[in-house]
Amino acid sequence: MSSIGLIISFLFIGLGLIWLLILAIKGREVDRRLIFVFIGIAVSVPLLFKISFSEKATPIVRDVFYKIENLPEGSKVLLSYDYGPSMAPEVEPMSNAFVRHALTKNHKVYFMCLWATGQSLVATAIDSIVKKEFPDKVNGIDYVNIGFKAGGTGVLNVIITDFRKMYLTNVDGVNLDSVPIFNGIKSLRDMDLLVSIGGGFPGVKEWVLFAGAPGNIPTAGGCAAVSAPLLYPYYPRQLLGLLGGIKGAAEYESELKDVYPDRFADMPTPGIAMMGPQTLAHLVVMAFIVIGNIAFFVTRKKKV
């Protein structure tokens, strides 16, 4: 199935690109809608035929993985969902992998979000992953969801000194003092690891600047590819590791599968699956750049 898809898509795209090239050499203007069609095909065909390639974790991803892996059992890990549904396809595979990994290692997981739109995503994660795959984990003891507060960096400024100044209750309306997992937890400084997943503002950068660095708390992140270059300056000093875009997610997933081949044999790997369309789309974009430049030089020569 996937090899047929591969042949079809390569044939389709290859012939199309050759045609584009001929147009370019003739010096004709190419309609942008034609370019859109190519991208559409390059993305949807691998999706329909499930074409995927193998991945290997890079150091920056391994650093995050082995931080969670090597924390002693029962460590407190805070996951902040700092993204909205629009960014979810790219970063949700990461947050799902983090949740699975942390719960498998029996860490205590604290869910929160700095984006209002993150609330429903946390709820989905708890319903579809925690409750289904880890039925023995108890809300309030093994994990808790404290939800969203408006204010972005303002929230971080407050909870780095005191959670209870900002959060009176968890999302179910239970006072934090009656939630066992919050016993002895005053502020972010009591966490063993902060993980922010998000690409916009506030996101990983704000977690580093307003929580991780001032509180000296280990901070890791997962972000959309677009913000990854911005975060490299903080790695490895203030940010212990980073998952950049879907490639980072795919690497994390493959590492998880390698280390726990039995536990996660049937784990869905949206990250790895999504790398198929990625690769083809990249090839198409590169082909466009090359053809665009040929067109440019041809027309310039004609003018001269």
């Binding site: 190419v30 370019i35 993305v43 629009s86 609330q119 407050v158 300056p233 974009v285 430049n293 440019f296």
Partner: protein
């Protein structure tokens, strides 16, 4: 007078906040002010909502071009507002989460707001391609540098880059495309980012000073009304 009072307020608030950082007894002032800021922002949302209604009713009443669509805006706005403020179809009581599962608010969020936003965002995949076709051309030296850097990174993000340069021995592994891509990201890219960051930080500091000192005051409008 109408301008002096605001300038004084800006000055006092700014100076107090700057100094509060250095004096532990008032250190938390910044926190409180951020919190206040959020509360004021919510009041502003009502201002925005009012403006939205005004603009669109105006379009409808004057039968401006596309006025029919303005009715859709107002309709969507009112339904969503009612669903959220009155917690329609919400399984819980008044203390329940506004976006609780099953509520109209959550349904509209999940099936309208969310797909619309995600689709709008995904248009970028097409625009990235059209922009790279149109604009990545070796017109001059600067553009060529930009083009080459982008190309190497793109190659590095695909298996193709690895296959093409796998033959390069370990002692020259920097020249392998994936490594070169990472090197570009962590060295020249980092330098560029850093220069911009330092510049921006200084720009922000300088701009903030100008605001506090009242040198920059366009935003406060004028005295003669």
């Amino acid at each position: 007078m109408k301008k002096q009072v605001p300038l004084t307020i800006t000055f006092i608030v700014g100076v107090v906040l700057v100094l509060s950082v250095f004096f532990p007894p008032v250190e938390t002032l910044g926190e409180d002010f951020s919190l206040f800021f959020d509360i004021i922002a919510v009041f502003a949302f009502f201002l925005g909502g009012g403006n939205l209604i005004r603009v669109h009713t105006d379009r409808i009443s004057k039968k401006k071009k596309d006025w029919g669509f303005s009715m859709i805006t107002i309709g969507g706005f009112l339904i969503m507002l009612a669903a959220g403020l009155f917690k329609l179809w919400n399984p819980g009581d008044i203390s329940a989460d506004v976006a609780a599962t099953g509520s109209l608010f959550q349904l509209m969020y999940d099936w309208m707001f969310n797909p619309l936003g995600a689709t709008m965002y995904s248009l970028l995949a097409f625009y990235v391609a059209s922009a790279s076709y149109r604009a990545f051309r070796a017109k001059n030296r600067d553009a060529t540098i930009l083009l080459v850097a982008a190309f190497v990174i793109l190659l590095g993000r695909t298996p193709l880059g690895m296959y093409a340069t796998e033959w390069i021995p370990e002692s020259f592994s920097l020249l392998q495309i994936p490594n070169l891509a990472i090197w570009i990201m962590t060295s020249p890219n980092l330098a560029g980012q850093r220069a911009i960051m330092i510049g921006i930080a200084l720009g922000v500091v300088s701009m903030s000073l100008r605001l506090i000192l009242g040198v920059e005051r366009t935003h406060l409008g004028t005295d003669n009304e």
